[in-house]
Assembly symmetry: C2
Homo-oligomer: 452 residues x 2
């Protein structure tokens, strides 16, 4: 049947045995992270209060393949390999000659791709004696993934959750508690960074940048504690490459090769996860496009500056060369909370700067149009974040309809929308708004990008 | 590793090709459904306003195997075959010599086993020209499954959702709308049954019995409309037997055979789905126990009467011989909304009456103790309904610890808890209560069981 469900499933033995490190293959040098105080290249000792040495080593490694420990693969088996689907029903609804495939990571216990790196990060921490891990979370996807992973490995966790989300989205908070982690609204009285913000504004709704400052401070102040980040950093992106490796095998099963790979970008990790394993082919001359889709409400790749900036609001993290809107930028409260970040992964930024990745931005109403069209054809209700990728995939498929070209589109459906139904509710009620960002507002935030 | 994740995955070719009909193998006669007015055995013509003829045929069929249409298996492929896991981490935490396995149906788009029958029911309706299907839903699992299935097959649906749930659980409602179905709070002004209740009590919180009355009335009044039920009936239970058929193959892969099969029961369909395919072995003399676990707040099997009663509150449905608490029984608002039903599937009731199935009841706090222990060992956060099965599985494993027996336990994890996090929140806050049902209250409700 033309509109039959086609699922490409790999046997468990095809769970990747190695992470793929794109740094081994790109010729352009990645500018080093800089110490926040001295502005000199940061060495391993600068990162040691935050991360275990194994992860610091992965961060700067040029090795092409890094072996995945058995204990990590063992936990991956709970939900991996993940399925790849051909979107026959969506194609038919669009009337496009394009072939649309999607890789689906929503089957993990936390409902997204985030556990792929959470499990890895917790493993190396445990190996090096870490007893407790701190992190931040916005909408809660990352915080719940870290809670799941620390629980599986028997380590304590404390999650600083952006206060506005903590109040508006109690269910992710309950999920974090169910897995035994501590979760507090940020800004909190538990850190100096939090107390300073609260002193100025007792009702502060918080932000991802503030929560990062709190989690970093907590980790630095305690010997038994380290910090974990859910995206942006090289090692985090690398852990996600198991997604693309599986997708390559599954596309082969489908006897197909993508003309384009599409993913949403906030910090950049889910996009890198599906796209980076295809980069070597592109570098060898294969015609394959990489499309990174961000929200108009947080347009770091399409309207930001490629410059050194802090990862957090308080300026406690090392400086990274990346596309940034300025570390004081506070995105409007779009539903795709996982994409509300002022910066971008340095590796994604570098490949954008060199024209390998094409950035694109959408407003949220057109993104939800695509989300609902997808749910009503393919059956899975997508999270707001990957719905950005769906929007782009549909638009590319409609271009094919105009041109008559039968292109092959692969996009990443990195999570389900079970915890985002209030967003759908708002969409159906007609109350969803598209936030406009005038040039002045972007320019003002950009003034916080340090000059040196 | 002793605590490694072990997942038993079947290839897509092992999605069952037939549903298993336990009526072919049991020797005890199933008492016929009776017409609600005449109390005479109901014939196909009595059911025709509600169901398509193919499903009426399945309801009374004695054929052992009924072929699954290709179009139905095609949609099953979106999430089937479902995985079976060995609960190594839970076993280790309990320190039990027992081996615990669980079959997991939470990977479907609606998050439970319900789409297995929703897709089948919608298919036969479409074949016979039905344009629109009505149904009721309590917590929303069944309503969302039917919305998913009607959307996939291109049929309209209207869901009467118990008013209290409609207000308290807006996310299941949004899910139903996302899949394009209409959903109204019940009692509604759209039916006579609803208007009568509203006239007496404009603020009625509704009940499953009332919502069934509304959905049935709506279907009977319109030529283009039929009705769908998510559990209780023979054909619904039969559609779920693909679960047990897959589990048998997966247990063989694990080189194991269950000493007991455990599932929760509300209407009985998820329990029947995993247990019935094992019944032939038991009838041939194999020592295998079947344990059906219900809430103390709705104890039809453990404290009800095995008698003819109505399926709905208004007395519009045919009478069925089943364990019932009386069709006017209104269970307290426990979080396992899917188990809040006054009756029980006639087939499950019959096998309980003949001692083949052992019923058991638990209060909800001990059920949530088990749910949290499971989430913190196995990683998946379970829905409140299957957490009843988890409680029983843990108790049986602890008995093995005392006796030193290495029994093999198989239980059914029929859905995830993503839409039930408010229940976990209440549990952690210490505000969860166990509702007591004094004998008088049960006796009073039982007076509504008709005598003739």
């Amino acid at each position: 049947m033309a509109d039959a469900t086609t699922k490409f499933t790999l046997p468990e033995s095809d769970i990747p045995t190695h992470w793929y490190n794109v740094q081994a293959d790109i010729e352009w040098p990645l500018d080093p992270a800089l110490h926040p105080g001295t502005h000199q290249p940061a060495g391993p000792e600068d990162f040691a209060p935050l991360f275990p040495m194994a992860l610091i080593g992965q961060e700067v490694s040029k090795e092409r393949w890094i072996e995945i420990p058995d204990e990590v693969r063992d936990i991956y088996r709970l939900w991996r390999p993940t399925p790849l689907f051909r979107a026959h029903r969506l194609e038919k609804a669009l009337g496009t000659p394009a072939r649309i495939f999607y890789k689906y990571e929503g089957g993990s216990p936390a409902g997204s791709h985030k556990p792929n790196t959470a499990v890895a990060q917790v493993y190396y921490n445990k190996q090096e004696g870490t007893k407790r891990i701190t992190t931040e979370t916005g909408a809660g996807q990352w915080g719940s993934a870290l809670a799941f992973a620390t629980n599986q490995m028997g380590i304590k966790a404390k999650v600083y959750m952006v206060s506005a989300s903590y109040k508006q989205k109690p269910y992710r908070k309950s999920m974090i508690e169910t897995w035994g982690a501590e979760v507090v609204p940020s800004p909190s009285p538990d850190t100096k960074a939090g107390r300073d913000i609260l002193a100025a504004d007792p009702d502060s709704p918080g932000s991802l940048g503030i929560a990062i400052s709190e989690a970093v401070e907590d980790a630095v102040m305690r010997d038994d504690t380290k910090y974990a980040l859910g995206s942006v950093l090289n090692h985090v992106l690398m852990h996600q490459t198991i997604i693309g490796q599986e997708a390559i095998k599954q596309m082969e099963m489908a006897d197909a090769y993508p003309d384009m790979v599409i993913g949403c970008v906030g910090g950049g990790s889910n996009f890198a996860g599906i796209a980076f394993p295809f980069v070597p082919d592109r570098l060898k001359g294969k015609k394959i496009r990489f499309i990174a889709v961000e929200p108009e409400a947080s347009p770091s790749l399409t309207r930001g500056k490629f410059a050194y900036d802090f990862g957090d609001t308080a300026g406690m993290t090392p400086l990274m060369k990346m596309h940034t809107l300025g570390h004081t930028f506070v995105p409007n409260p779009i539903h795709a909370g996982g994409l509300r970040y002022h910066g971008m992964a340095p590796l994604v930024s570098l490949l954008v700067a060199h024209g390998l990745i094409e950035p694109r931005a959408y407003h949220q109403k057109t993104v939800f149009d695509a989300a609902v069209q997808f749910a009503r054809t393919e059956g899975i209700i997508p999270a707001p974040e990957p719905s950005h990728a769906i929007r782009a995939a549909i638009d590319e498929a409609l271009l094919c309809k105009e041109s008559g070209e039968a292109k092959t589109i692969l996009f990443h459906l990195c999570g389900h929308g079970n915890f985002d139904m209030s967003a759908y509710e708002q969409y159906f009620s007609g109350e969803m708004v598209d936030y406009a960002y005038p040039e002045e507002a972007i320019a003002r935030a950009m003034e916080s990008v340090p000059v040196f």
